[in-house]
Amino acid sequence: MVLIKDGKRLDGRDFDELRDVKMEVSVLERAVGSAYMEWGKNKVMAAVYGPRELHPKFLQDPTKALLRCTYNLAPFSVEERKRPGPDRRSVEISKVTTEALSSVVMLEKFPNTVIDVFIEILQADAGTRCVGLTAASLALADAGIPMRDLVAACSAGKIQGEIVVDLMKEEDNYGECDLPLAIIPRKGEVVLLQMDGKLTKDEFKKAYELAFKGAMKVYEMQKNTLLGSMKRFVGEGGNDDGN
């Protein structure tokens, strides 16, 4: 399958160009915090419950909260129906997502509790773990959970010998490598990194830089989204707004 033609990718993007990204917070009623994202054809929802008491009690940690992220692919989110329930891939993604977010959430403020983060992939088109993690980070902020920073994610990869950012489905399927990355932007450090395929060290460096820059763009969007949400909130509560 031809993935690059005349220096452009299948959907016309440049090598360092992200797909369209949309973000929204406070999209659910019951959850304490929530977020919705569209990223290319991906559609993802994230919700936060807690901090709440952890049961059974012997799992409680008197020094900090337990963070528990659950990544789930809806049966209809992919072309060939996915059987409900966690498979090994979902369990692994849940684990690395939990670890990435644990680096920023101030868990020490809520001993003996659990904070649950649920990520639902409603439509999947490559890069879902990056979208899910980015949305989860927004949902935590929306829930008012204190964090040292946001987590922003983006992937890079290699297709037809070229290093490009933010693979879409066809690029993921027929490409040579995928490298999802998540960062804590203020420190500029990596909290999620996975990779599979074939890369030399130099190619890795290039892919790393593209993914990093992509994540920084995502971070700006996250901040704007949360700012917008706060403005709306201030506006709604204030006297000078006619809406």
Partner: protein
């Protein structure tokens, strides 16, 4: 288990109902605002609909695959309905296999569609031992009451916009389609709750806490499915008037989703 707050809320709602009022100001025979976004999972699912019924949000996706028919109906396609109470939707939902509440929703929705013959399964025959399997997957995203109606309405809406993928040389070509899923009628479930001596339609979450029992009636031009739930009881006349109300409301909702 119910806590003090739940009891107080139940009392409050019941008193309100006894005074002829609902907490959100609706009439007893009035649904919450219903908003249906068809083809929500536009690129991957064969059909889908996202319903917002008040603050309740349910997403239904339809997947099509090829499999074996039931031995007693070798010439007919198969439908199967699953509900997942995603833990995102409520603090009381847990990860894991569906519990009895979710199974009940799935089975009541399934019966309404199946018994009305809404899917023309005879047209889903491919060749000997091969028929289309229609998967109805109901994903509860935000639970604010009346999951049966939201699920049932979103399901038939999703089925109505479902396309059948191309099937060639024993393989499904996803992303290419051969035609629409044949739908013969539009079954709509309507649920009433009984609180005290009042019967009211489309209970929201608070009203579900307060209700003694509920009755769901799925109709097309006939009744196709009924399900009583809850620990209370119904009088005959209550059931009969609920039937009338169900036929009437189903007509309105049918218009909405046939748009």
């Amino acid at each position: 288990m119910m806590e003090i707050e739940a009891y107080l809320r139940k009392d409050y709602i019941t008193n309100l109902i006894n005074e002829g009022k609902r907490i959100d100001g609706r009439g007893f025979d009035e649904y919450r605002k219903m908003d249906i976004e068809k083809n929500y999972v536009d690129d991957k699912a064969c059909g889908s609909s996202l319903i917002k019924l008040g603050k309740t949000k349910v997403l239904v996706g339809i997947s099509m695959s090829v499999g074996e028919p039931y031995p007693d109906k070798p010439q007919e396609g198969v439908m199967t309905t699953s509900v997942e109470f995603r833990p995102m939707a409520s603090p009381t939902f847990e990860s894991g296999p569906p519990r009895e509440e979710a199974i009940e929703v799935a089975r009541v929705v399934d019966r309404g569609i199946r018994e009305s013959g809404a899917i023309d399964t005879k047209k889903l025959f491919i060749e000997e031992d091969k028929v289309w399997i229609v998967f109805i997957d109901i994903h509860i995203l935000d639970h604010n009451g009346n999951l049966i109606d939201a699920s049932g309405i979103a399901s038939i809406s999703a089925l109505m916009n479902t396309r059948i993928p191309k099937y060639e040389d024993g393989k499904i070509i996803y992303g290419e389609f051969e035609g629409k899923l044949p739908i013969t009628c539009v079954p709509i479930p309507c649920t009433v709750a009984k609180i005290g001596n009042s019967i009211l339609i489309d209970p929201n979450l608070d009203e579900e806490y307060a209700m003694d029992s509920r009755l769901t009636i799925a109709t097309t031009d006939t009744i196709n499915a009924m399900q009583k739930g809850g620990n209370g009881s119904f009088k005959e006349e209550e059931i009969l008037s609920a039937i009338d109300l169900s036929f009437e409301k189903a007509k309105e909702i049918r218009k909405l989703i046939e748009e």
